[in-house]
Symmetry: C2
Subunit: 333 residues, 2 copies
């Protein structure tokens, strides 16, 4: 089905609504707490309290993968809306404030009672690598009923994060959202989020890809390997490229590759003075790429935008842009 | 009275227990919201909500003047304890976590029910100047009954902030704390906090000075003027110097002066690459100074420590040190 009305939003995203709790720490603490270095691990509230107890002093910043990408997109001037589940508590208010203050419409009602708004305990080692431990909190109960279907139908792109496939209610909500967007003739963008998600829900993702449901797919190197079973990067690309109209594969300091409608483009990583905190690098790459893509820019330019956004966010603590991104684009693109 | 037992803590502080909500903004927003640029303004919950609504995306970091100073002291290896009032809510837990994770003992029970834990909405302009708007929340109800008198008696220095003179219950608690510390033969350090506090409670402060209750007094240039009625800096110094054993007067980029037991020392400000956020500059100056003072170091060296600590904290967002301060002292002192 083709879109009948012009979209009101460039992108609507459904994602985890979490606050990042970010602390610097030494390598020893990662070992001592037996954390999954560089990865994202789902934890329950008891483990969250145990880890928080052991965590150095921290700073709190709103996070969530798709929410971070939206924040990047909004900063780049796109019209965005978010759907996600916070609790009716202080951190939920912080999350909502930060979304709205970035210019993003976010009206999903808060969920009363327990559990609290989700939070991600992020340990950042001196090399800038982030190790994430996520207590999903209220986010794991995002119900299909919370979807504003009119909103979803009114956005050119529906952006989804793989993280939401793990809890049952949001997974069902995602499927409903996909149906709504497709019925309205909109595009589906999907970020695989993390290898462990693919290990658990890869069959789902692969069948979505086979069925042509995903229009734009974001993966990093290890996610691509897990998704395709191909350990070699090029073999992984080849296994997926023909099945999605747009494939974007990021490789940290090795840059990124995009293959769209048979065309291939590559970009080097943008060097930074010092990697402070890699949290949000993939999210902001996606934001940069999409900001060019929705404007119909050439693939290489979309990738370059992604690399610029990633370089900005890893040069400071927190997963969302702090610089004037429009100005940065003018200077560096 | 002289101390009979050796102190268990170097410093115990009583102060506001608040979380800073810090956002970058342009000068226009300061005007538009009619904020008191560069100052600290007490606000009620309704105004806090109004300002938060208008605030750009923010980061949350634990704050509070005396609490920040303690965090600096603990980072420099001193034994510290804190007394302050949080509510039983998420921000209260954040504040307590950050204190304890810095190595500070903090056991004042949370206050159930409303109001929430205090927060300071801080707008940081491109020049790094911070404009603070404080909703004291639970902090305004710190009761004298919450004081751990044994704890107060067991610290070499009782550190108090002028901000707590404004609400009635904490003011009464401060007076009780002073009596306890003096009975135990301990020293009283006092930071005047802000000119508006002196405007309201200057008579109190002046009589404390006259009565010899304050052993170490921290003021900045404008506070000194308000306290003494002398607009000229030197005249202000002369008016107080003889009445407190140790006077420390900070002057932002013009450095600082200390006069102790008739001896005078001065220090220049330590230059920084870029002033990001001046929040906590005075608090960390006090921490650096005290860290030398408790070790009996020469006055100039105490001032130098203060200037180093202030330069570190203004080079990043947030009111507490992020660098390895012991290493920084080794390199720069």
């Amino acid at each position: 089905m083709t879109a009948t009305t012009p979209p009101r939003y460039d992108v609507v995203a459904i994602g985890n609504a979490v606050v990042d709790v970010i602390a610097s720490c030494d390598e020893e603490l990662i070992d001592e707490l037996q954390l999954n270095r560089g990865g994202m691990t789902l934890i329950d509230e008891a483990r969250a309290e145990e880890l928080y107890e052991a965590m150095p002093p921290a700073r709190e910043l709103s996070g969530g993968s798709a929410a971070n990408t939206l924040a990047g997109l909004a900063t780049l001037g796109l019209q965005c809306a978010f759907i996600g589940q916070v609790a009716d508590d202080q951190l939920g208010k912080v999350f909502r404030h930060d979304m709205r203050a970035t210019g993003i419409d976010f009206d999903t009602p808060a969920r009363p009672g327990e559990p609290a708004t989700g939070r991600v305990l992020i340990f950042v080692t001196p090399d800038g690598e982030r190790t994430m431990n996520t207590f999903l909190g209220a986010g794991q109960f995002l119900p299909a009923a919370a979807l504003d279907e009119e909103l979803i139908a009114s956005a050119a792109i529906l952006y989804l994060e793989g993280y939401l496939w793990d809890p049952e209610e949001p997974r069902r909500a995602m499927r409903r959202a996909i149906a709504v967007a497709r019925n309205a003739g909109r595009k589906i963008a999907f970020t695989a989020s993390e290898s462990f998600v693919i290990e658990r829900h890869g069959d789902d993702f692969r069948s979505m890809i086979e069925e042509g449901i995903i229009d734009i797919l974001f993966v990093n190197e290890s996610e691509l390997a897990t998704l395709t079973g191909e350990s070699a990067f090029e073999a992984g690309l080849a296994a997926v490229a023909g099945k999605v109209p747009v494939l974007v594969a990021t490789r940290s300091e090795k840059g990124a590759v995009a293959i769209a409608h048979g065309e291939r483009a590559e970009v080097a990583a943008v060097p930074v003075m010092k990697v402070v905190d890699t949290t949000g690098a993939g999210d902001q790459f996606a934001a940069g790429f999409l900001s060019g893509y929705v404007r119909g820019e050439p693939l290489t330019r979309c990738l370059k935008r992604g690399a610029i956004c990633a370089s900005e966010v890893i040069s400071h603590y927190g997963p969302r842009p702090e610089a004037d991104m429009l100005k940065l684009m003018e200077e560096r693109l």
